[in-house]
Symmetry: C2
Subunit: 213 residues, 2 copies
Amino acid sequence: MPLNAPEPVKKSFKLQMLQAREVAITRAVNRLLAEKGFDAMTVDEVAAEVGIAKASLYKHFSSKEALACAAMVQAMQRAQEFICGLESGDAQLLASTALAKLQALTRWTLGLKLSGQMPSLPSQNSSLRASLMASRPYMDALMQVSEILGTWVVKAQAEGQVNPNLPPVAVLYTLYARACDPVLEFLKMSQLHTDEEIMDIVMATCFEGLNAR
Amino acid sequence: MPLNAPEPVKKSFKLQMLQAREVAITRAVNRLLAEKGFDAMTVDEVAAEVGIAKASLYKHFSSKEALACAAMVQAMQRAQEFICGLESGDAQLLASTALAKLQALTRWTLGLKLSGQMPSLPSQNSSLRASLMASRPYMDALMQVSEILGTWVVKAQAEGQVNPNLPPVAVLYTLYARACDPVLEFLKMSQLHTDEEIMDIVMATCFEGLNAR
DNA sequence: GTCTATAATCAGATAGAC
DNA sequence: GTCTATCTGATTATAGAC
């Protein structure tokens, strides 16, 4: 048995295990964040869902806020990947205009929310708000996403497809807000519509408004 | 000094004081509920804001949930009064059509939210949700409001002013959701617009949609 | 009914053995 | 790094004097 060779291999393996564990943690946090929100989620629940002791969680993340931040960053990165996909190659056929891209992204976020994978933003004065604002990885990802979406909005307005009287930032905020819109839960609870129908309804109210056209 | 006459007068006075105190409490709760939400609000804060001891609060309301329920019922009653005003006399000139009434009510709720008087609904799994659903006064008020608004929505659709393809209940939920829309806070934080402008923007996105017309 | 003081509980975080 | 057991602080709720 060689004495030197196994070292880096073993190290890499351990690192992989570490990362795999952390991915499992953020996935659990993401799900619980979507289901109950930050305040109602307890660290004990996270530990139970991952299947490790609470103390072990704190070896990976220094606080409950750090836990949630990591999950939010992960979610943000998934959004970035989806956005990149919309900007490149094949997707051009499906989403050729700026408006089509905005709509595709919005529908994707609605689907995430309906399937319980969209961590609900801290809509009120939560301790999470401050932590997120102080988190470089999160803010960087948010800025990047906002910049791309901002250009899409401006382009869609220039192309006459989005109401040019609306401040672009207001359009942006509106799209962000739709990703955590309680209307989706309400309609799902009523059990009168399929997920597809619910998405169609919310997409219609968002882009076409309540008024008849 | 008569021995019998003062009795009912004194009782009535004490009752008035009691009710006045409880109104003061619900007002404070309402404000804190709007500012921080149910979970972040503590009973100590409520007591401090009202200016009485915490134990005294529990003489009026049996739990934190009961406290919040009372505030929500009070808010609901204010909404009912506004709705009744829209249906009667003078307001007919300002809000003659069903759509105009829906818009007037929506703008009113946006104004409440902007001035920090709209208690934010428990959007996630809060203990408040269950308490509200179990509260007869709250559910009764909610049902009454929903019934009236429901007729307005159907009428507005029949008059060709609201998109007839949308299920009326979806329109209703959408209007409820706009009353606690985070877009309002986001725009207010950006400090680029006055409250009036913010209301105009949100009203436009809500009723006319993001798309150009 | 209001107060001070305290009980009871729960959740975030840590100590220390392995 | 993971565990069990524990600490600490915050928060809901109550006891008991006045």
